[in-house]
Amino acid sequence: MSKRLGMVIDQERCIGCDACTVACKLENSTTEGWIQVETLNSPQKDVPSGTPPDLWLEFLPKLCNHCSDPPCVEACPNNAIIKTGDGPVILDRENCDGCQACMEACPYNVIQFNQQKGIAEKCNFCNHRLEQGLEPFCLICCEGQAIFFGDSNDPNSVVSRKIAERETFQLKLDAGTGPSVYYCKMKPRRRL
């Protein structure tokens, strides 16, 4: 079976620190960072939802889902986005003319428009690092060690194990694009 590279982000371990965003900017010379951390169910970042004693801070780092059926690839008139054999969806900045069709097609709103360069940009799973046998840069800079990466078609990979062991969810499954990013849910609290 072919590889299907995917990512698991454990909400139980994500401390919402934004190191992934800063790391992405440094590694990929981006202006915003292609991974952005949201605070769930809250009108503002870093502000808890709910009322005492049921307050929650649940962080959701959002990035390209590297879909198995990526609508951005279809939408791009310049073939600047390709789906690679083992999973990553790569946007080639050199071939982008900034038409933003991909941004409209993406159900996840994770393709950014770089105003300075006039082109679309998004997470490439650090493909340039994968080619060297390295892990994505956000993963190695994650303060909470909440990010896992590997082949979800290999039952022994760390991502497959996490998916098997934990209650997970994926974003907008009804969009039918087959996302490759999984989130492990926060565990229920064991009250005193």
């Binding site: 139980e12 371990r13 401390i15 919402g16 620190c17 934004d18 190191a19 965003t21 800063v22 790391a23 900017k25 440094l26 590694e27 009108p43 503002q44 870093d46 502000v47 808890p48 709910g50 009322t51 005492p52 004693p53 307050l55 929650w56 801070l57 649940e58 840069f137 190695i140 800079c141 303060e143 909470g144 060690q145 609290r189 064991r190 009250r191 005193l192």
Partner: protein, 755 residues
């Protein structure tokens, strides 16, 4: 060092003032420019780490606002008008000025205010060495928030820090059944060395309880959060002990063997019964009541086994009780309902937590500095440490595990053996020394790695009463901070990519901070600046070899050099300290005079603090009826800064653009305040104007402004305009008084309502 595409990589360590996280960093260098930073390898890769601030270090190093050359003040102090001078002129001016002041007032009147050296050692040591050689005054900076823990720890454990006794094993990844995180937010303040282990412990099955006035990121990971009022921690501790004693869940054997709970206390004086009181030799021996012989006996390992820890005894007509009996009687006054009334935590939760601590096999009490930043913060620490002690949840990592790094501080603390060294002054006592010349006048101050006026209490007092009394002020800095503006001479220092230092963290490793690039502009390292000044003062010989010479000095200790941790070896990577065989942990032999955990400190009986009593915070409005300022103001720590460092870094400002005051929805509604409103936080000392953020982050009755923002980033005022310099004399007696940034009363109104 490896080469690839003309990129060199060099391993260094981040010595920023988060202190113990001390990330190993691999710097990628192209030509003379650092182009990328990434986490460097540790021997155990699970310890590889970096944080968002470390990742932003290039934005500090290449910041356009870096101070580029020495400057002298040409306008009024604080006005910000400076003129470029040469290093020679700067050092000549400083040396001349210091000599003049010393001639008039003595070297004692010259002080070195050394703030947070972080994990760096020799940059701190260099100043100590020069202070020692000149016999001037070293101003200890523990008291700017970090003296409360040492004060409490010195009483109960006899050590500067309680950490190895409370959670040393936790740091070695021996995870407990119950993990209490008390008054600290490691998710933002110590994410790598501590928070990762909290997450690991939870994954390994620990139940996690967070005790904090704020619903922090750490609290969000907890199974239960106890949102107490700031500074009521010792009342909570007494409430927990009430439950524990009521149900008989304390560890009698541990109390007998490891604490002074069995020592007899005279009811008439509150002092320990001594041999001399009843004609027993040696005269200073402590006494217990031996249940086996039904008589008094001297404290010995053998007698402790059958020592009584409860009851009242008549000893030759002197009424005595074991110290533990005294503690039980104190705790009896704090049933959960009363503790609930004081702390704001429900009686039900206090009862359940007390029971849980009592029945759990192993409980770790994790705490840090935040818990101690109220007027009686030292007793808050003693309170929680006493709960740990009476339930047998104290241990030490260093009788097994890896050896601790012991540094050779002697050449810095005492540069010339046999000669007197520097005078030591607590930073909170410095206010009086400068303003009122008590206990002796201070006329000149050198500030290094400290943003004094921004980070210390009572900004207006410093500006209006403190600075004007000084004849001469020097500041070493990377940027024109609010404090640097008040200096007469400002000296540009290197960013941490531009100089070498020794970093004795994170446990169980030590590391070298390596110079990656040459100092930018005309900046110099603190060590080189001190060496230059020492030359002018005739002490140049003591600083030969610069940074590397001092690193070799500090490494000259059997636990480092003897183990092979030489400078050459450290260039290759982090050094893992030797592991000791698993061994017997007990008896602990803590470094108190009695070698026992002192749950009763008879030397504080006159002050009424022999036991961890609950004494209300000094300003806290919740303890007073009809308080003029009804809200309790505290300062949390933000992941975007280490204290006031990084506050001016563009990439971090993008994520966190401006200061806000967090206010609970209940308090906000009463004041008609919504998120985004500009509000004024005020008390009799000052007004601070900024945006409000209405959020459940703070409990009702409490407001929080994250510390570290520079005063000029506020519309009006700043974080420490609101704080006070009230001193706790008991802390002064124990060690040194702490600044109580979390013990401040304020009110908040919308800006347009300010009269």
């Amino acid at each position: 060092m490896t080469e690839e595409d003309n990129i060199r990589t060099i391993r260094t360590a981040c010595s920023q003032h988060c202190g113990i996280d001390a990330c190993g960093i691999l710097a990628h260098v192209k030509g003379d420019r650092v182009v990328k930073l990434e986490p460097a390898d540790f021997p155990n890769k699970i310890d590889n780490r970096i944080c968002l601030r470390g990742l932003s270090m290039l934005d500090v190093t290449y910041h356009p606002d870096r101070l580029k050359f020495p400057m002298k003040r040409v306008g009024e102090r604080g006005e910000g008008k400076f003129e470029r001078i040469s290093w020679d002129e700067a050092l000549d001016t400083i040396a001349g000025k210091l000599k003049d002041i010393a001639a008039q007032h003595g070297w004692k009147s010259i002080g070195w205010v050394l703030g947070g050296p972080g994990a760096g050692t020799t940059k701190f040591g260099a100043y100590l060495r020069l202070a020692s050689l000149t016999q001037s005054t070293r101003v200890s900076a523990w008291g700017y928030g970090d003296a409360g823990i040492p004060c409490g720890s010195r009483v109960i454990f006899g050590s500067q820090f309680p950490y190895m006794y409370l959670f040393g094993e936790f740091w070695q990844r021996k995870f407990p059944e119950l993990l209490l995180i008390w008054g600290t937010n490691p998710a933002e303040a110590m994410p790598l060395q501590t928070m990762r282990k909290v997450l690991d412990a939870k994954e390994a099955g620990a139940q996690v309880i967070v005790i904090d006035p704020r619903f922090t990121v750490t609290a969000s990971k907890a199974d239960e959060h106890l949102a107490l009022f700031p500074g009521t921690d010792s009342a909570l501790a007494l409430g927990l002990m009430n439950v524990i004693f009521q149900k008989g869940l304390h560890d009698v054997d541990f109390i007998r063997k490891e604490t002074n709970g069995s020592f007899l206390v005279r009811i008439d004086t509150g002092k320990f019964l001594l041999g001399e009181d009843i004609g027993v030799k040696p005269p200073k021996s402590n006494m217990i009541w031996d249940e086996a012989s039904n008589s008094t006996a001297k404290v010995k390992r053998s007698t402790l086994k059958t020592a009584s820890i409860t009851g009242t005894y008549d000893v030759n007509g002197i009424e005595c009780k074991p110290a533990f009996q005294m503690l039980m009687e104190l705790a009896k006054e704090y049933p959960p309902e009363k503790a609930a009334e004081i702390t704001g935590v429900s009686a039900d939760l206090i009862t359940k937590l007390g029971e849980k601590i009592g029945v759990s096999k192993k409980v770790v009490f994790f705490t840090y500095m935040g818990v101690s930043r109220t007027y009686h913060g030292d007793i808050c620490l003693r309170g929680l440490a006493t709960v740990a002690s009476v339930t047998g949840n104290v241990s030490t990592s260093f009788s097994s595990g890896n050896i601790p790094a012991v540094l050779n501080w002697d050449p810095f603390l005492k540069a010339v053996p046999g000669e007197p060294s520097f005078h030591r002054m607590a930073i909170l006592n410095l206010y009086d020394a400068v303003i009122n010349e008590k206990p002796y006048p201070i006329k000149a101050l050198w500030f290094a790695f400290i943003n004094f006026v921004n980070q210390c209490v009572d900004y207006n007092k410093i500006v209006n009463e403190f600075y004007p009394k000084l004849d001469f002020i020097v500041q070493t800095e990377l940027f024109m901070t609010p404090s640097a503006r008040y200096a007469d001479i400002v000296l540009p220092v290197c960013s941490l990519l531009e100089f070498s230092d020794f970093v004795p963290h994170p446990y169980p490793y030590v590391q070298l901070q390596q110079k990656i690039i040459e100092p930018l502009y005309e900046s110099r390292s603190d060590v080189n600046i001190v060496a230059g000044l020492a030359e002018k003062l005739g002490f140049g010989d003591y600083f030969k070899g610069g940074e590397e010479g001092l690193i070799d000095l500090i490494l000259d200790n059997p636990t480092l050099k003897g183990e092979g941790a030489t400078r050459e070896r450290l260039k290759k990577g982090a050094f893992l300290l030797r592991a000791l065989p698993e061994g017997g942990n007990f008896p602990l032999r803590v470094p108190t005079p009695s070698k026992k955990i002192e749950i009763y400190a008879d030397w504080l009986s006159e002050e009424g603090q022999a036991l961890p009593v609950y004494l209300p915070p000094i300003e806290a409005p919740f303890a007073k009826k009809d308080a003029k300022y009804p809200l309790s103001y505290i300062q949390g720590h933000s992941r975007f800064r280490t204290h006031s460092s990084f506050a001016n870094v563009e990439s971090l400002l993008k994520l966190n653009p401006e200061p806000v005051v967090d206010i609970n929805p209940i308090d906000a509604q009463e004041r008609n305040i919504s998120t985004g409103d500009t509000v004024t936080v005020f008390n009799d000392r000052a007004r601070t104007t900024l945006k409000a953020r209405v959020s459940g982050t703070v409990r009702p009755g409490v407001v929080d402004i994250m510390q570290g923002w520079w005063a000029d980033q506020f519309e009006e005022g700043g974080v420490n305009h609101l704080t006070h310099d009230i001193k706790n004399p008991v802390q002064d007696k124990i060690y040194e008084p702490n600044m109580n940034m979390n013990d401040v009363a304020v009110d908040v109104i919308k800006k347009e309502e300010v009269k």
